[in-house]
Symmetry: C2
Subunit: 447 residues, 2 copies
């Protein structure tokens, strides 16, 4: 599953698996420690895993039992908590002398042969350099000079995707308040709906919808705003300017929003030699991304083929500019069946472990032919006292993943103590069956 690494594992091969965060200047996410722990799904025997916060032993035991990695062979390294107890693993936290010392001690003289970060931040490149193994990080030169920002910028995406020939919703990149008013009004004034996207947020959290009429359900966006005339659009942009631009720091995107579209993605692994298709899926938002269906259930085969073809096209300039790693190309299929790309993400996404570990490795046997993976966040109202309690309830209800039937529920994240939830993945023969399992789970995890 680690095509990033040398496929034939040799003795004394040590990979550094890094559950790092976005550079703080681009985006901060509160308490991402539990979420970044999903990187453990990628750990193989003898790896060193760097995490923002100490993981629960029960999470580590669960994941390694599922992947077949020897828990005892893994070294888990957590940086000394910074001032203020930040859980963010980025910036200078990654090159802290005590962290480096701990990694070196875990290495015990063995060489690092590969570095797999969650996202290609410049600070990971500095970590690789500090450890004396820049070449262990694929695409080191590009990442070191801040290339990660280009791979997660919605404005760079619009330019590169347009130039690479991928289909895009009508719209443009804005930087100027007057121009943005016109861009929104071009859509809203002609009966369409506009979506505004901040440059560096994800999962819809940096998006807002603007519509001339009320009653629109925000999908893939935090909220829907009504602006019925040119003056209302002007007032809206004035009000939201600092939020949209991070106080004039970043450009943003205005584009046409298509209600009732299907959101989907195709993910690739870019290496020196190939752009390898990884998997594709469908994203459900209510209103921001909560669930994914792998493979997509509501996209016709010819559109899926086109998604993979244009997605690959999008990877080509990124490969040429020196990026190595995962790239997710996100798109919508409009009610008219049109395929339009909406963003890309050059990092290990919330889907990578689902298709590449759950799908390819755990379920296996060409899983997309006879299985559906239905994965994501818990709905409001679900909770469980602990990670162990979640495992126990799944087992007691006979719902835990069973390798013999290749169906059942895989817990996909660490436990989020903020609201006593986690993420899970239902593996089923079909989407309706997966929905039935979800209903049984609802009874397990609601009071």
């Amino acid at each position: 599953m680690h095509t990033e690494f040398v496929p034939d594992r040799v003795t004394d091969m040590v990979n550094l698996v890094v559950g790092n965060d976005f550079d703080e200047v681009l985006r901060t996410r509160p308490a991402s420690g539990w979420w970044n722990q999903r990187v453990v799904w990628f750990a193989q025997d003898d790896d060193i895993v760097v995490l923002p916060t100490a993981p629960e032993e029960s999470f580590l035991r669960y994941v390694t039992a599922m992947t077949g990695t020897r828990r005892s062979s893994l070294h888990i390294v957590v940086p000394p908590t910074g001032s203020g107890g930040s859980e963010t693993l980025s910036g200078t936290t990654l090159t802290d002398g005590r962290l480096l010392a701990e990694i070196r001690s875990a290495l015990a003289g063995r060489p690092i042969t590969g570095i797999l970060p969650l996202w290609p931040g410049a600070s990971v490149a500095r970590l690789a350099t500090a450890l004396g193994v820049p070449a262990a990080l694929p695409g080191h030169a590009f990442v070191e000079q801040g290339g990660g920002a280009l791979l997660n910028s919605k404005t760079a995406f619009r330019a590169i995707a347009a130039g690479a020939g991928a289909g895009l919703p009508q719209g443009r990149v804005c930087a100027d308040q007057g121009d943005a008013v016109e861009a929104v009004w071009e859509l809203v004034g002609s009966g369409h709906v506009a979506i505004l996207k901040k440059d560096y947020m994800s999962g819809g959290a940096g998006n807002e919808i603007v519509s001339a009429v009320p009653g629109l359900t925000p999908v893939g966006a935090k909220r829907a705003v009504v602006a019925a005339d040119h003056d209302a659009v002007r007032r809206y942009l004035k009000d939201r300017w600092n939020w949209l631009t991070d106080d004039d720091r970043h450009l943003f995107v205005v584009e046409r929003f298509f209600p009732d579209s299907v959101a989907c993605f195709a993910e690739f692994l870019i290496t020196d030699d190939v752009i390898a298709f990884g998997g594709h899926g469908e994203m459900l938002s209510e209103p921001v991304t909560t669930k994914q269906i792998i493979p997509p259930a509501h996209v016709p085969p010819d559109v899926l083929e086109e998604l993979a073809r244009q997605g690959r096209q999008l990877c080509e300039p990124l490969q040429r500019m020196g990026y190595r790693g995962r790239l997710s190309a996100d798109a919508i299929v409009t009610p008219d069946g049109e395929l339009l790309f909406t963003e890309y993400n050059g990092r290990i996404t919330g889907s990578t472990h689902v298709y590449s570990v759950f799908g390819d490795e755990i379920v296996g046997s060409n899983y997309t032919k006879d299985r559906v993976l239905f994965e994501g966040f818990w709905p409001k109202g679900w909770s469980v006292p602990s990670f162990d309690a979640a495992i126990e309830r799944l087992h007691d209800a006979g719902l835990a993943y069973d390798p013999d039937t290749r169906t059942g529920v895989i817990i996909s994240s660490a436990f989020d103590r903020r609201d006593d939830t986690l993420l899970h993945c239902v593996v089923a023969e079909s989407l309706p069956t997966a929905h039935e399992v979800e209903e049984r789970l609802a009874r397990l995890f609601t009071a």
Copy 2:
């Protein structure tokens, strides 16, 4: 000379040549009207030339006499002066209804077959769309979505150049004050000199040098600052933060500065099919770029070859992401003979007309074999009452360019009324001869 356009000119072929400015959000330059008029050098019979301000007739007569373009066949179009009398040709000025009407009237029903802008701003793409000829602008899709910003960003340059395998000075892209302090101190604290570069400025105007010792001559930068210890570096960055980041709007570059380096460039034309070498030159700065020598006089042939090779490498990701047009790759040759790239500029630069029109077309006959072009701004103290007076003095002194000898002085810019100066190009058999001509010119243009 217009490989951007279809080479065989057919009847009723009309190109739109646009002397436009950077999008204002990226950079504004005071009174660029006279400077942008150099785009007239690219005008061919029947073209429509859009300029920020009305050009002097004597400038137009001079340029067209030199290029052989029929002055009477050109349509010069100037947008209605905006409120405040701005000379900036960008943004909504380019799609003003009155400007569009004037262009349509000049077209008199003929189709526009090519659009050649000074720089690939999104507003030029909107002009192309408004005129119903998006395909006439090479790379329209990329430009329309703000791709021009990526081609003129010094931070995107660092990532893309590193990834493409071009040599770079030690340094990095900064966004965070603490990280920037470390990046500067890594250089200054180990006996090197640092240069800080704003993301979108050019010609050294957005650069500052930081050194531990006084007495450094700023080359390619506005000034040299002394910061002898870590605390002084910290104070310097605090002081200059808003200037460096345009009030937190943009990232910036910190890299090693090499005193006594030779600055040079290689320029290419990127089309659908090829990356064609255009020309290379040497840049002289005192302290910001003032003169260029084409071909370079102080760069060994093997380094020049490497400049062209790595420069072409740099163009490849840009071609793949959909850019079509000129790309200048700028580099330095250090006193140790190392070639290191320092920025790129995806636009028609201040060199394009010099090598491609003066060199290839006017001087011709493989000019780099037996001629040197020494071109640039006037030194402090030079002035002339008018464009016509400059022509007259050159003629009277026998210094005007002579097609028979393929030597002499070409006036290369419109007249800058702010200080009664212009730019000129000495064409000579050798650099020492060009310097002798400069001395004779000094007597003509100083009181």
